[in-house]
């Protein structure tokens, strides 16, 4: 290990007001597998995008072979020998393996020499060390085989840095093992492999060094022999818990409002069981792909569960449309404001009254505009929605204020059970605290809340109890008294006490 093949030097990246990376430095040496771990939103994707030329750093620089280089785009990154493969491989289903590997090759001439193409494809597949017939049509390949095709495609362009972004997230244990062997094999041939994964156990199997990043910053880089799962988790979560995130006293009462037993939906999730008490906040924690939103959607009637039972206010229910859930007093605040939450070009007032439209209609079905305005103005004051008037298109507001409009829509329903899906994602700290207060006020008045959040401090601050999911399975429920960032993260990563 002499000259690093790729280095980020003090790289920062901002998107408007949001800082995705700040002062990030990382060096990659030829022949190493370098694992990168961090929570959702820690800045991993932004870093990959800077390495592959999709984004340009706001400040700081990249060095390739020790020389400064600015990557003006993905093409420049490819020329520099940097390639990435993702969880979902990109293959053309109607072409065969060889054609897929050389899909963007330019040196093959107008009329491809099929024999030469196949010989070269076979050589690349051999280099990866997988047995794969180059004449097979891509449509029939397994995910792991498709990833092999992507890797071979990268190799065909003399890749020197290969970034693997959660390559094993949707693979079976056997396939994942095979892919890890490929990563090792490439490293032995001098490629620098960046390996991003939420599965801690495989990092210990595949990586030479591990870098932890958190909140867009570099936390640590150590040889894998010097770390333990516990030390990694501590690095991933170890941020100061500010005053915003002090746990408020619980309002939970003994009365059970929702009882979920062994809920499952096809092969998306299964084995979800919990009680929700009146006045309680139940947080659902987990990493991307934990399938928490799918559980919420099944409770809300969007995609009904296929097994298990839900008992709401003492009666067994199975909602097959949101209208039924809404009529029963269940509201779901979506994580995706733009797609599922708000009609962006429409006025704030119309969005606020959308779920309760019937209550402002005259017997003839005409909208009582004065009543609508009163309702909207009341929420504007109560939730401190910063806008000159309620006739403005909601899309013109900032993210935090949009979030408040969406909350207003569901609060106006006066629900008994509110499911918040990532209620504070992408909004600033001030708005975040306001949303937290609002959830607390809601349960203080006898409502019950399920809060899905990937933000650990938020989970600890809000949850009376914390349900942790991982890849469609319920891993456990932790009482807030026993919950720490480490204990939640350990469950979310599938690490049990003493397991590693």
């Amino acid at each position: 290990m002499t000259t690093p093949v790729l280095a980020l030097k003090d790289v920062s990246k901002s998107f408007g007001m949001t800082k995705a990376l700040s002062g990030m430095s990382i060096t990659l040496f030829p022949g190493e597998v370098h694992a990168i771990v961090g929570e959702n939103g820690a800045g991993k994707s932004t870093m990959i995008k800077i390495m592959t030329g999709v984004h340009q750093p706001t400040t700081g620089s990249l060095e390739v072979d020790g020389k400064p280089l600015s990557l003006s785009g993905t093409q420049a990154a490819r020329v520099a020998g940097i390639a990435a493969i993702y969880q979902e491989p990109m293959v053309f289903p109607d072409l065969d393996v060889a054609e897929n590997i050389f899909i963007s090759a330019t040196d093959l001439g107008l009329v491809q020499n099929r024999v030469r193409l196949r010989t070269r494809a076979r050589a690349l597949i051999d280099r990866i060390g997988m047995s794969l017939d180059v004449d097979r049509i891509a449509a029939g390949l397994t995910l792991a085989e498709q990833q092999a095709v992507e890797i071979a495609r990268a190799l065909s362009q003399d890749v020197r840095v290969l970034i693997m972004d959660e390559p094993t997230a949707s693979l079976s244990a056997h396939e994942a093992g095979e892919l890890r062997r490929v990563a090792r094999k490439l490293a032995s041939q001098g490629v620098a492999v960046v390996y991003i994964s939420h599965r801690l156990e495989e990092i210990f199997e595949v990586a030479d060094r591990v870098t932890v990043i958190r909140d867009g910053m570099h936390i640590s880089t150590r040889p894998v022999g010097e770390v333990t799962p516990d030390s990694l988790i501590a690095d991933m979560v170890g941020r100061e818990v500010g005053n915003y995130f002090k746990k408020a006293p619980s309002h939970a009462t003994p009365e059970v409002i929702l009882k979920v037993t062994d809920l499952a939906c096809e092969d998306i999730f299964r084995g979800v069981s919990f009680d929700l008490h009146k006045g309680e906040v139940l947080c659902m924690a987990g990493l991307i792909g934990a399938r928490r939103t799918d559980v919420a959607l099944s409770l809300f009637g969007i995609r009904p569960a296929t097994a298990g039972t839900v008992s709401y206010k003492g009666t067994q229910v199975r909602y097959t449309s949101p209208a039924q859930a809404i009529a029963a007093g269940i509201a779901y605040v979506s994580e995706d404001r733009r797609k599922l939450g708000l009609a962006m070009p429409m006025p704030i007032r119309s969005n606020i009254t959308l779920a309760t439209l019937a209550s402002i209609l005259s017997p003839a079905g005409i909208i009582d505009r004065r009543r609508e305005r009163e309702i909207a103005e009341a929420y504007r004051k109560r939730l401190n929605i910063r806008t000159p008037n309620v006739d403005l298109a909601v899309g013109m507001l900032s993210g935090g204020n949009q979030q408040k409009v969406m909350l207003a829509k569901w609060l106006e329903l006066k629900p008994d059970l509110l499911i918040f899906d990532e209620p504070t994602r992408g909004i600033d700290v001030g708005a975040k605290a306001e949303v937290h207060d609002l959830i607390r006020a809601f349960v203080a008045q006898g409502g019950s809340a399920i809060v899905i959040s990937s933000d650990l401090p938020e989970v600890l601050a809000m949850g009376d109890r914390i349900l942790v999911m991982r890849e469609g399975r319920q891993m456990g429920i932790i009482d807030h008294k026993d919950a720490t960032q480490e204990s939640v993260m350990r469950l979310a990563l599938g690490q049990f006490e003493g397991a590693a």
């Binding site: 009609a343 119309s350 079905g365």
Partner: protein, 323 residues
């Protein structure tokens, strides 16, 4: 200066722009010909296209809902031909009218059901029924004309009902007022806009989006059948190709009125202004002896302008944005 700016902002609304264009066209026409502003000419102008402009009102609902109904022309033809055929078979004309309206209702429901419940794109569904309904119309009447309807029926299409004002125009005004209230003031209208803007948001808010869509297609079929009958009464005869191709003129008027083809935006007032512009423009050009083909070309240019002009942003728009 500020007043000027405020004025410019107001003109930014498409309806404002259409109003200016309309006034300009009327003034031009009035200065070029003597009898342009006479009640007779203005009413005549409406009556020549009364069937299309009636259907344009419901087409506004369809397009704001982010759908399209290409079958309206065929439904007009089917309704007119069914009336003619039944009249020939000796069915009581009043009963025949009722059956024709029922045909429109069912035809619209078929469109709506396939779109809302099966989930097929309305472009495909209504293209299929455009062919199907037209086919039925031709089967019923073939290529001969059927006429000699009762005098009272023809009078409905041709004579003044209240004073000089014919039934068709009265129906248009009543329909406009009714649909205006529904679209711009009622809960159903609100749902129409929300679904057109983002159907998933409406679904998640517990709105039965499929039902709204079916109702709108039923409205479209029913009003088209009514317009077909009106055509039969006004012309006094029907043929298999009645109202052939009307759907394109109708959709043009609605789009010109500022209704976005992607759904969610536009108003019934915009459609009304666009109708008035197209009618006055064609009438003015006719009075100047400009041929029909050139008239059509001018309407086409206007449609392109209607897509382009809202994209030209004045700097004043920035002031409206608040973070």
């Amino acid at each position: 200066m500020n007043a000027l700016k405020a004025g410019l902002v107001k003109l930014q609304s498409w309806e404002g722009f259409l109003l200016v264009v309309l006034i300009f066209i009327i003034l031009m026409n009035a200065s070029l010909t003597d009898n342009f502003l006479s009640v007779g000419n203005q009413m005549n102008l409406f009556m020549l296209s009364i069937e299309k402009i009636i259907v344009a009102l419901v087409m506004t609902f369809v397009i704001i809902n982010a759908e399209i109904d290409l079958s309206v022309g065929s439904m007009m033809g089917l309704s007119a031909c069914a009336f003619g055929w039944m009249f020939q078979q000796g069915v009581d004309p009043v009963l025949a009218i009722g059956i024709c309206l029922l045909i429109g209702l069912v035809g619209g429901f078929i469109n709506g059901w396939f779109v809302a419940r099966v989930g097929l794109p309305s472009l495909v569904v209504t293209l299929a029924t455009l062919i199907g309904y037209r086919g039925l119309a031709r089967v019923l009447v073939e290529d001969r004309g059927i006429g000699d309807f009762p005098q009272w029926f023809n009078d409905l299409g041709q004579k003044g009902l209240i004073g000089p004002v014919p039934f068709g125009l009265i129906a248009f005004v009543i329909l406009f007022i009714g649909l205006y209230v529904v679209l711009q003031r009622s809960g159903f209208g609100r749902k129409t806009y929300v679904i057109g803007t983002n159907r998933e948001v409406a679904d998640f808010a517990g709105i039965d989006t499929g039902r709204v869509k079916i109702v709108i297609f039923v409205m479209s079929g029913l009003v088209s059948a009514f317009a077909g009958l009106l055509f039969a009464a006004r012309v006094g005869a029907v043929r298999g190709d009645v109202a052939n191709g009307f759907e394109l003129d109708i959709i043009t008027m609605v789009l010109l009125g500022g209704v976005s083809i992607f759904g969610g935006t536009g108003t019934l007032v915009g459609t009304l202004l666009a109708i008035l512009i197209v009618l006055n423009l064609r009438n003015g050009m006719a009075l100047l002896n400009i041929t029909g083909h050139i008239q059509t070309g001018v309407v086409g240019l206007l449609l392109i302008a209607s897509v382009l002009v809202p994209r030209i942003k004045l700097p004043t728009v920035k002031a409206k944005e608040v973070t």
